[in-house]
Point group: C5
Chain length 89, copies 5
C-alpha cells in the first residue's frame, strides 16, 4: 500500500457499468515527509474517506478485493484512513 | 486508475488475433494539474472515447475485465470519460 | 522483492476489516548502497520486523501469500529480515 | 500496452525450460514523440517482429496470454506491429 | 523481463518459511548500454546464476512460475543467463 491524500473527486457519467456506485477519489501519493510525490491515482473509496484526509491505498487485485467487486475494472482503492503515523527516518 | 488524455490512435494489422476488434487508443497520463506526465499508454477503448477527451484508464487484470476479454493480451483500457473534476490540492 | 528499512508504523482505525490484525509498517525502499530511494511503502509485517531493521518486502499477490490472507486488500508485505548482505557492485 | 522499438535479440542457453522456443527481443519503450524513453524490456515475440520495427508490447499476465504459455515465466510480450500512428498531442 | 547483473547475495534467517531453500540474489537492472539503472531487486535464482553474471529476470506471477512455487511470497526471479546480446539501438 502507499500513503496518500485525497485531493479531489471525479465524475464520469460514461463509464464501465461495473463502476456504477463506486466513488472515485483523486488521490495524491505522499513521500516519507508526507509531501505530494508522484502522479495522482483515481482510487475507489471503500472506507468513507473525505477530501483532505490522509489515507492508505492499494493497487492491483488488492483494490478489487477491497471494493468487494472482483469483476469490476478497478485497479486502485482506498483501504484505510490514517489516524496516526509514527515515523523515524 | 489514472487520469489521461486520448492523444491518438494506432493501427496494427499484424497483431494477436484476440486484439481484433479492440480499438487501440494512445493515451497520455496526466498529473494533478492535468498536464501530460509520463509516457503514453496504448489502451483499449471500452467506452467510446474520442481524441482529445479526458478519460480514466485502468491497467493489468482490470483492463481485461473492462474489455470483457479475459483471454486477450490486454494490459490497459479506458474505463470512463471524465465529465467533471473537483480538485483541491 | 526489494530491500527496505522499516521507518515507522501506522495506525488506521477506519480500514478494511480484512486488514484487522495486520501490522502496518512504513517501509523505505533502499538502493544498492542501502540508502533511501523512492517512496515509502505501507507493508504488512509477517516476520516480526522492528523499526530500523533492514528487511525484504514483496508486492502484489506475493504479499497476500506472505500474509496468508488471499482475501485481504494487501499489496505489500515484509517477508524477511536481512542478516547479511554480500554485495559486489 | 506500450509502444516500443525492437532494438536487439538475446540468447540465453541456460534458462527456464518453459522459455525454450520463445524468441526474446530487446525492446526499447518509446515516448509520445516515438523517442527512446525508459529502460529496455526483454519481451517474447508473438507476432514475428523484426529489429527496428515499431511494436506494441504488453506486460504481466497479458504477456503469457499472448505467448499462449500460461505456465511460462514470461512477463512481457510483443503483441502487435505498428503500421500507422495518428497522434495529436 | 529485464536485463540485470547479479551483484550480491542476501541472507535472511528470519523469513517466510516458503522462501526456505530459495537462493536470494541481489540483482541490478541494466539499461540499453548494459549500465546499472534503477534500484536493486532481490530475485530468487532458478538457473544457477553467479555473482557478476548478466541475466534476465521476471517479476510478478512469472517469478513464482519460474520458482515452481506458486504458494511462496516471491515477486522476482532470475529466469535465464545471458550468453549473447545483439543490439542495434
Amino acid at each position: 500500500m502507499r500513503m496518500g491524500k485525497v485531493i479531489g473527486t471525479l465524475v464520469a457519467t460514461k463509464k464501465d457499468e461495473k463502476l456504477i456506485g463506486s466513488k472515485l477519489m483523486i488521490t495524491q501519493p505522499l513521500d516519507a515527509s508526507l509531501n505530494p510525490k508522484g502522479d495522482p491515482i483515481v482510487a475507489v473509496d471503500t472506507v468513507g474517506a473525505g477530501i483532505g484526509e490522509l489515507i492508505i491505498f492499494a493497487t492491483g487485485t488488492a483494490s478489487r478485493i477491497a471494493a468487494r467487486k472482483m469483476d469490476a475494472p478497478i485497479d486502485a482503492a482506498i483501504v484505510g484512513i490514517i489516524d496516526e503515523i509514527n515515523m523515524d527516518n
